[in-house]
Amino acid sequence: MMKAGELEIGEAKSSTPISGVNRGISILDFILRILAFVGTLASAIAMGTTNETLPFFTQFTRFRAEYDDLPTFTFFVVANAGVSAYLVLSLPLSIFHIVRSSAQKSRNILIFFDTAMLALLTAGASAAAAIVYLAHKGNTKANWFAICQQFNSFCERTSGSLIGSFVGAFALILLIFLSAVALSRR
């Protein structure tokens, strides 16, 4: 009865290869999630521990640079920490998708949260990139001085921490893509 019904509808002939590919997609999803988590966590830590004090001082100007001197960098650290926390919490859901590759509602939920986290991460990374660019080059029209000429290691640290954030954003784009492909193959 079941076999005749299935043959009439015409499905269930090729379900095993599709669920095999879905399982491969879910495993790749898990690996990418771990990569993105490492990238964003490293970014948050690298930016959050920047602290440079120049060896001279005057009475009126401070010669110390920290990440929370610039509110944009604070937002960057918070955004990266939030996204890395989300990625850790979504690892169980990813493992669930490896075990049961035909889940649909949970993949939709994952796409929604992945997209929201991508937006947050990209906003933080691009805002920090704008400030880092300004710190490197300055702006003569707005009379903004390039602080990197004085604070070398601060600038190097902040520029390097952007890389991890962009790696995480790219991995999130791939994750959304993989979830969509797994949803459309049934």
């Binding site: 610039l70 796409i111 937006a119 906003a123 691009s126 805002a127 784009i173």
Partner: protein, 194 residues
């Protein structure tokens, strides 16, 4: 087999109307999602175009001058704003070019190909729009508030109109990003199969 055939045909008679109605109902919701996708896509395109145009035409010259300083502010004085204009223009042109794919997914709601393509490209457009908006927000925030630690002056106190137009453009870019977020989630929801 002989015993199974009458049972299965009766089963098919019993099953087929159910399958037809559920398929029609499900095709209905996919079509509804596709129509809303099309409308939201047009809204996002208008918003992205408005953001790019508002930032691109933000130029202000103050009515006084001295020998050494110029008192003219334009969007290309700040490379971040140039990136913003280019990024939002790219997003707007992508949204225009994606309208045919949206129409195809209205006409044929069950085909997964156009929807999957739109989801992937929408994700890239979302990250581009958010990147432009985030970078411009950082500069606009700096222009409004300055920074005492780095000795960066708040230029908005002098260039009021320029700052207002730039801030408005940034708000429009965030509206575009939110609409693109909804487009991605809706495409993902409509990709489900039974």
């Amino acid at each position: 087999m002989a015993i199974d055939v009458p049972e299965s045909s009766a089963g098919a008679k019993g099953k087929a109307p159910l399958i037809a109605t559920t398929a029609a109902a499900l095709g209905g919701y996919k079509k509804g999602i596709a129509i809303m996708d099309f409308i939201l896509r047009i809204c996002a395109m208008i918003s992205a175009l408005a953001a790019s145009a508002a930032m691109g035409t933000s130029e202000e010259t103050l009515p006084f001058f001295t020998q050494f300083f110029q008192f003219q502010a334009s969007y290309d004085d700040l490379p971040t704003f140039s990136f913003f204009v280019i990024a939002m223009a790219l997003v707007a042109s992508y949204l225009v070019l994606s309208l045919p794919f949206s129409i195809v997914s209205i006409i044929r709601p069950h085909v997964a190909g156009p929807r999957l393509l739109l989801l992937i490209l929408d994700t890239i457009a979302l990250s581009l729009a958010t990147a432009g908006g985030g970078a411009a927000t950082a500069i606009v925030y700096l222009a409004h508030n300055g920074n005492a630690n780095t000795n960066w002056l708040a230029i908005c106190q002098q260039f009021g109109d320029f700052c207002q137009k730039a801030s408005g453009a940034v708000v429009a870019s965030f509206i575009t990003a939110v609409i693109l977020l909804f487009l991605v989630v809706m495409s993902g929801f409509a990709l489900r199969r039974q």
